[in-house]
């Protein structure tokens, strides 16, 4: 928040009077005149103080600051800053919004799928039962157990959660100002479908899992 090395109002002048200097001159000026860490506010403060009746207090503060500044400034009489030219490595870049969204959704998908459960407990991907004729039948959902799941059921349910989330994000995207009408209608329809599908599918899943749900 500190407006470092920017153009600063000098204390002795009108704060509104700002003049661009070259870097060197500015540096000297700062050292000599203003070297407070909160110069932006400071200039205003003094300007107010001059016109305000509490001038005595402000002078006291000013004095304190000045002595402290002198103290702070002491090492810089000896230490000279090296003349460096630095460049940020080009590969450090802020990730774009889409990348962030993608990462968010993928990690969210994995967590809600109970992947950690899968790692620790190591359940089979799909269960199986034997029916009355002795045939093996695959079972997708581990019924009646809230604290247990097969890998695939977790992934399926979590996909539905994420789909619902995507639906809401699309719903938000529709109110961008500059968008063709067709796109907008399509997006609204898409988001509706996403949310409804997600909702219904999750409901069916939970009914399979807990047949007594909401009864």
């Amino acid at each position: 928040m500190i407006p470092n090395a920017g153009i600063r109002p000098c204390r002795n002048e009108n704060p509104a009077y700002i003049r661009p200097y070259t870097a060197k001159i500015r540096y000297r000026l700062q050292c000599r005149i203003t070297a407070s860490s909160t110069t932006g506010k400071y200039g205003q403060f003094t300007a107010n103080a001059k016109s305000s009746p509490t001038i005595g207090i402000s002078f006291l503060r000013l004095y304190k600051r000045k002595t402290m500044e002198n103290l702070y400034r002491l090492p810089f009489t000896i230490v000279q800053c090296p003349n460096l030219k630095l460049k940020k490595p080009s590969w450090i870049r802020k990730p774009s919004n889409t990348v962030v969204l993608f990462g968010l959704l993928v990690s969210y998908f994995l967590v809600t799928a109970g992947v950690i459960y899968d790692i620790i407990v190591e359940p089979p991907s799909v269960g199986s039962t034997t029916d009355e004729y002795g045939h093996h039948k695959p079972v997708a959902f581990m019924a009646w157990r809230i604290n247990g799941q097969y890998i695939m059921e977790g992934l399926a349910a979590s996909f539905m959660f994420t789909l619902g989330g995507l639906g809401f994000i699309l719903l938000d995207q529709t109110n961008k100002p500059n968008m063709p009408r067709l796109n907008r209608v399509l997006m609204i329809i898409c988001s509706f479908i996403f949310i409804l599908v997600a909702y219904c599918a999750t409901k069916i899943f939970i009914r399979i899992k807990m047949p007594s749900y909401l009864t």
Binding site: M1, I2, N4, A5, A23, R26, Y27, Q30, A35, S37, T38, Y72, F76, C81, L84, L86, K87, K88, N97, V100, L101, L104, L105, S107, Y108, V111, T112, G114, I116, Y117, I119, I120, V121, I146, N147, E153, A157, S158, F161, T162, G164, G165, I169, L171, D172, T174, N175, P177, R181, R184, I188, F192, I195, A198, Y199, T202, I206, M210, Y213, L214
Partner: protein
């Protein structure tokens, strides 16, 4: 009652929805009135001022949220009675009762001899006293104003009371983050979200009940202090943090999340003096305050869990110093990069130092429960006692759905909105979301910390969506496309809206007002200008309202069916809907209290320790405060070895009674046979030579109690205590005698006798069975009882001559002799 509460909640949902659009609505209402009758304009606008109405509506909504949050947690009290639930709450209740009777300082010095039999427990130094102090203060206050209420009632209703406060704290938190409307949504969500009500129903008198309130309030104050950078708010944060530390071990979450927030802000180049002030003050004050809790003690400066906070504190100081240096240096922008890199390196060095110090032993390493959060397989392999607790299991998708329902879809959306419009405080909620969702995936128990965050973010998502879609009027009136207002503050938006209406009003002579009177009959050509037609908006709003209603129904159902059982009183329902109460636990504990000697020691598995001490008032060997693994392992070993071996351990531990929980008679699944494998595992951890887990499985690796079960299992003490004389009992005409209804098998070992214990008491439904440990039997007489004893002559009266002591009678052998003129030391050598 259930129906009543449901309607109550759904009405609250509607309320909160109304308020979500309230600023729009009321401004629209007022603007309409202005248009319809310009003469009344002044009068109406002064009567219904927007700000006054907004605050009135938010007040009403918050009150409703509070009440509904309180009410929806009362199912168990209404169905059963005002009773403390489960296991841990019994200890909390017992210590609270002790505190109200004996005063706070006696409570801090309380040595509880009823627990951990040979060892005892220093209660004051091993608990978080916040819960007891809170209810004690309430009790004291109510008695001061002459309301004679029993401490039990306060304990039962404390958690619902605090859940209402949590709703308020969440409102404040969300209001700081986004807007007032989102805050109202968040309050309504958190009030009924099952993820939170699971731990805060009436009667579950546990630390979490008040800790979530403290958590949210601390976060609110922290956000406030980061925003303002004032010393006042950050001191308040530290005080609230102190309350949290005194209340729950989960304070570690705060003391790690806030430093992470600070660190990420630095990395994102969002450092400011506000941040510096608030974190420095919070850390120092919070550190000192948290060390005042006896149980925490010097942990904040010594353990790894707290090192992140210290490291970030040091880093922040360094960063602030360097930031100061910028002001002294020309071309600081270039050097900033360098310093930024340096800071990162310093951070790494600090991290490495912490690691090195941990290895060197100066800093205590992570405690197992925290370590298992990172290395998820750790607990399973190394600490069975942590893995055995059902709430430490990893979470499945069903738990996510049950606890959060609709919010689970809205949660990433809210996070996305926060990332898109990032500010200092929104970084916080995003970090909170990331960490909490990971932790919730690792442990079911930590769903509790995730739930508030989900509620906040879902509220943000919903509020932002509704900001646009519930605003049907404005899009029709305005000729220019409405830019969705991103509101930093609720007040800002209101003023925005006001301005817009004012602008519209000024343009009255234009043909627009004619349209305004009949919205929805717009010509096709003009609809292009508006973004989405009002019909679609209405449909969207109705859909969302429906979903919210279903959410409320779901929450009520889950709270009432899944989370409101006291688990010490069981209920079963017949086909005609009539209810049958199974009250075996209290029956057994009452028997213990009345029929056993006062100092009797009861051995049971640790789950029941608190209940036996609380209700039965008898000494137990192990209880739910699982601080001594080897002691628990010893009990586990006694339970899982055969009777003779077990008797040795039991006599060693001075056990008088053994108590087991057996559900096979009525089909109660949470009994000791189902928990038995954990006893074996824990015992194996300490005594790997005597107990092996494989011995208890069949050859196929199954755990069975029927005929095919392993002989070791069928002869161990636990099996025998559970199934003693069960083989004589035929529970059902269709099933053979000795049919276990929990595991649906006929038991394998039916006719056996107990050698060293005898049955003392079995409750009505056989759930609790108590056995008395026999005293050591008299020794059997030897077969040749009339034997001849050959006496030898005493060695002391030998006639053998020893030099110097001849003819002295009654002399002790090897008695040191004093010889005059010689030194003792010489004789030795």
């Amino acid at each position: 009652m259930a129906a009543k509460v449901t309607t109550n909640q759904s009405s609250i949902k509607d309320d909160s929805e109304l308020t979500a659009n309230d600023p729009e609505l009321q401004t629209n209402v007022s603007s309409k009135k202005r248009l319809s009758s310009s003469s009344n304009m002044l009068a109406t606008s002064s009567l219904i001022s927007p700000t006054g109405l907004t605050s009135l509506i938010s007040f009403i909504v918050l009150t409703c949220a509070y009440i509904s949050g309180f009410m929806s947690r009362l199912f168990s009290v209404i169905r059963f009675e005002s009773i403390i639930h489960e296991f841990d709450p019994w200890f909390n209740y017992r210590s609270t009762a002790y505190m109200t009777e004996n005063g706070f300082y006696n409570f801090l010095n309380w040595f509880d001899e009823l627990a951990w039999y040979p060892l005892g427990r220093i209660v004051g130094g091993t608990i978080y006293p916040g819960l007891m102090v809170t209810s004690g203060v309430i009790h004291w206050f109510l008695h001061m104003i002459n309301i004679p209420i029993h401490i039990r009632e306060i304990c039962v209703f404390l958690a619902p009371f605090f859940s209402g406060l949590t709703a308020l704290a969440t409102y404040l938190f969300t209001k700081e983050l986004w807007s007032r409307r989102a805050g109202l949504f968040a309050a309504a969500f958190i009030a009924i979200a099952p993820g939170y009500s699971s731990r805060s129903v009436a009667g579950s008198y546990d630390n979490e009940g008040i800790a979530i309130f403290a958590l949210m309030f601390t976060y609110f104050l922290w956000i406030r202090s980061v925003k303002t950078g004032s010393v006042f708010w950050s001191s308040c944060t530290a005080l609230s943090y102190f309350y949290m530390v005194s209340a729950w071990g989960g304070y570690v979450f705060i003391i790690n999340l806030i430093p992470v927030h600070v660190f990420v802000l630095i990395v994102l180049r969002r450092y400011s003096l506000r941040l510096y002030v608030s974190y420095s003050i919070f850390y120092i004050l919070g550190l000192i305050l948290s060390m005042q809790i006896p149980f925490v003690g010097f942990q904040p400066v010594r353990t790894s869990e707290h090192m992140l906070a210290a490291g970030v504190f040091a880093l922040l100081q360094a960063y602030a110093f360097i930031d100061y240096l910028y002001t002294k240096i020309p071309r600081a922008a270039d050097i900033k990069q360098l310093f930024f890199g340096l800071i990162m390196i310093v951070g790494l060095i600090v991290f490495a130092a912490v690691v090195v110090l941990t290895y060197a032993g100066y800093i205590a390493p992570w405690s197992g429960r925290f370590y298992s959060l990172w290395d998820t397989n750790y607990a399973k392999i190394h600490i069975p006692i942590i893995a055995s607790v059902s709430e430490h299991q990893p979470t499945t998708w069903t738990s996510f759905f049950f606890d959060l329902h609709l919010l689970i879809c809205l949660f990433p959306v809210g996070a996305w909105f926060c990332i898109k419009e990032l500010t200092d405080e929104r970084v916080f909620i995003v970090l909170y979301a990331v960490f909490a969702s990971y932790f919730a995936g690792v442990m079911i128990r930590l769903m509790l910390t995730l739930t508030p965050c989900v509620c906040v973010l879902a509220a943000i998502a919903l509020s932002k969506t509704l900001d646009y879609y519930a605003d049907t009027e404005t899009s029709d009136m305005s000729t220019s496309p409405v830019v969705p207002t991103n509101d930093g503050d609720g007040d800002d938006t209101e003023s925005d809206k006001n301005n817009r209406n004012l602008y519209d009003k000024a343009g009255k002579p234009k043909p627009i007002p004619g349209r305004r009177g009949t919205p929805g009959t717009n010509p096709e050509a003009e609809e292009d200008t508006s973004i989405v037609s009002s019909n679609i908006k209405t449909v969207v709003v109705i859909c969302i309202a429906m979903m919210l209603m279903l959410f409320a129904v779901h929450c009520t159902w889950v709270t009432s069916n899944a989370y409101s059982s006291p688990s010490i009183v069981l209920a079963s329902y017949n086909n005609d809907g009539s209810r049958y109460i199974i009250d075996d636990f209290r029956e057994a504990y009452y028997w213990l209290r009345k029929n056993t000697p006062e100092r009797a020691r009861v051995m049971s598995w640790w789950d029941y320790g608190y209940q036996i001490a609380g209700m039965g008032n008898r000494t137990v060997l192990v209880d739910n405060n699982t601080w001594n693994n080897s002691h628990i392992a010893l009990v586990g070993k006694a339970m899982s070895s055969n009777e003779t071996e077990a008797y040795k351990i039991m006599t060693m531990l001075d056990v008088d009674y053994v108590l087991v929980i057996f559900g096979g008679m009525i089909g109660y699944s949470g009994d000791d046979i189902n928990k038995f494998l954990w006893m074996v595992r824990i015992a194996e951890g300490e005594h790997p030579k005597d107990i092996r887990e494989q011995d208890y499985f069949t050859e196929n690796g199954e755990f069975r109690v029927d005929r095919t079960g392993s002989p070791v299992l069928l002869n161990c003490l636990m099996y025998k205590l559970c199934y003693y004389r069960f083989g004589e009992l035929q529970t059902d005409f269709r099933s053979p005698p000795g049919f276990d209804r929990t595991r649906h098998v006929e038991i394998g070992n039916k006719n056996f006798d107990l050698q060293h214990v005898e049955e003392a008491y079995t409750t009505e439904h056989w759930i609790v069975r108590i056995y008395k440990v026999k005293k050591l039997a008299n020794r059997l007489q030897a077969k040749n009882a009339l034997r001849q004893v050959q006496r030898r002559k005493s060695i002391y009266s030998t006639t053998k001559k020893v030099a110097g002591q001849a003819r002295k009678q009654g002399v002790i052998l090897n008695k040191p002799q004093i010889k005059k003129g010689t030194k003792i030391s010489k004789r030795k050598t």
